[in-house]
Symmetry: C2
Subunit: 294 residues, 2 copies
């Protein structure tokens, strides 16, 4: 009883002390601190800009995420996080304009998402280019860590790995389980044994993906989202030629997601005023992402 | 015995008669005849051009296909077809240049494919833009026929359908079976009941896809290949808002494949000198496409 009383007393006194040392910080100040902590200079033009909200508003909490879907924003708001740092777009477009939508800003999905952002005083900032091009690519590091592949990574090229021999099918199954992926797509011979792998998360395009596949000895490329008339056809042809080449497409979200967990960990080392949460973006192809809403 | 003898005699006499009436036709002449039989004027610039081979060479047989993969070329050559009419690229790029590949024309996969084409005197011509923009979109018509959805098609908009009520999941399962698709991807509530569907085969992009989804009453978009940070995120948000919107992605090849069967049927109505075959492109995500090659 006495010990409980002491504990309660410590807890009660601890709370005000924390509040007293806690200082206000604005979204702009958080971003300035990010720029100051990066190992590379800030480079414009960049998509790493504010996408919604008031940059001068006080931050109550930070949520890092792969993609600022409405579901992520809802979960961030419920946690009390008002600054969302997202790797991928908010407005369904790399430049985050609504120009591609025929109804543009009057599109009902856009309008309702914007209304939710405004009602909850959310601030959205994108962290794409510079998180990739930091001294170490933060997205790649987070993914490699989630895969448990650090020990296989090439010292001279962080996108290349020499793994213990496994078949393409085994690697696909293991990664699907480990990264929690709903739908995997594999091109090539699933029974092919592989030791040399290139990892290219996200949607890096055929130029980079074919560059990885052209490296002699690389047997397997793991990508996020590749075009079916480019990389997919190329690997299909390579496999038809009997070459030791295969492709695993993880889907975009789970291929980069863990890089934003890495980002949250990094932010916590220099933003201490407010909590920093990593909010995973749900896999859009998982049935449980969209339960029956009648 | 007598009847068999007569039959044999007819068959023997039929062959030379066929050969005698058969006239030579060059690839260029086939393409000119295609241009003359289209219901729309020829418009340049277009990707509908020769991609390999000699346009003045004599055609021994025509193979229409969705994508001129090496596997398709091998099957065409084995049939004696030397003119391949493909809907999608040969060289892994919409413009069919090898500029995206770091090694360009020296890429080993490109070189070996080109060597196969040359050795077998194949001629490759792309039929993309004008087959889509013909009086009726030939790709769409072929797909709708394969799906058995002609009776549900809107008279005023051939991309819209009013189907008997089914859930998104039921539609996905039925199409997967009917079109022989290895990997289907669904975004949204699979239990949602649907009657109003938009069909946008291939990779038409977010502008057209969001336009279809903005149409009031359209509950389901069926596409081939959509970008995960564009259409996929948009539908995820719409579903999270409780809207009656869902997306089924069929994959690119099976979403347009049957339009090239339609093309073969159309060609046979005005090219009678040589056989016209439809050679299905194998689904790159089906394990049986790439049996173990040791």
């Amino acid at each position: 009883m006495k010990r409980i009383a002491i504990l309660v007393s410590i807890c009660l006194s601890a709370t005000p002390v924390f509040s007293q040392t806690k200082k206000d910080i604005t979204a702009n100040e958080v971003i300035d601190r990010i720029k100051g902590n990066l190992g590379v200079p800030w480079k414009t033009p960049t998509v790493d800009t504010f996408k919604a909200g008031d940059p001068n508003a006080k931050v109550t909490g930070i949520a890092t995420t792969m993609m600022a879907t409405l579901d992520v924003l809802q979960r961030a708001a419920a946690k009390g996080d008002n600054l969302i740092i997202t790797h991928e777009p908010t407005w369904y477009d790399h430049q985050d304009t609504t120009d591609q939508l025929p109804m543009k800003d009057d599109d009902p999905v856009v309008k309702e998402k914007r209304a939710f952002i405004e009602k909850n005083h959310l601030i959205i900032w994108r962290f794409h280019d510079h998180w990739h091009r930091n001294t170490r690519d933060g997205i790649l590091d987070g993914q490699v860590h989630a895969m448990g592949w650090e020990k296989y990574q090439d010292p001279s090229n962080s996108h290349l790995f020499t793994i213990p021999e496994k078949t393409v099918g085994q690697i696909a199954d293991e990664l699907q389980k480990k990264l929690g992926i709903a739908v995997m797509r594999v091109v090539g011979d699933r029974k092919m044994k592989v030791t040399r792998v290139a990892l290219s998360p996200g949607a890096t395009g055929f130029r980079l993906e074919s560059g990885a596949l052209e490296i002699p000895g690389v047997q397997l490329l793991i990508s996020g989202e590749s075009r079916e008339w480019e990389t997919v056809e190329y690997v299909a042809d390579a496999a038809a030629q009997g070459r030791q080449k295969a492709l695993i497409m993880l889907s975009h979200v789970p291929s980069e997601q863990f890089g934003m967990d890495e980002c949250a960990k990094w932010l916590r080392t220099f933003v201490t005023e407010v909590p920093v949460d990593f909010i995973p973006t749900k896999d859009p192809f998982a049935p449980e992402t969209f339960p029956s809403h009648k």
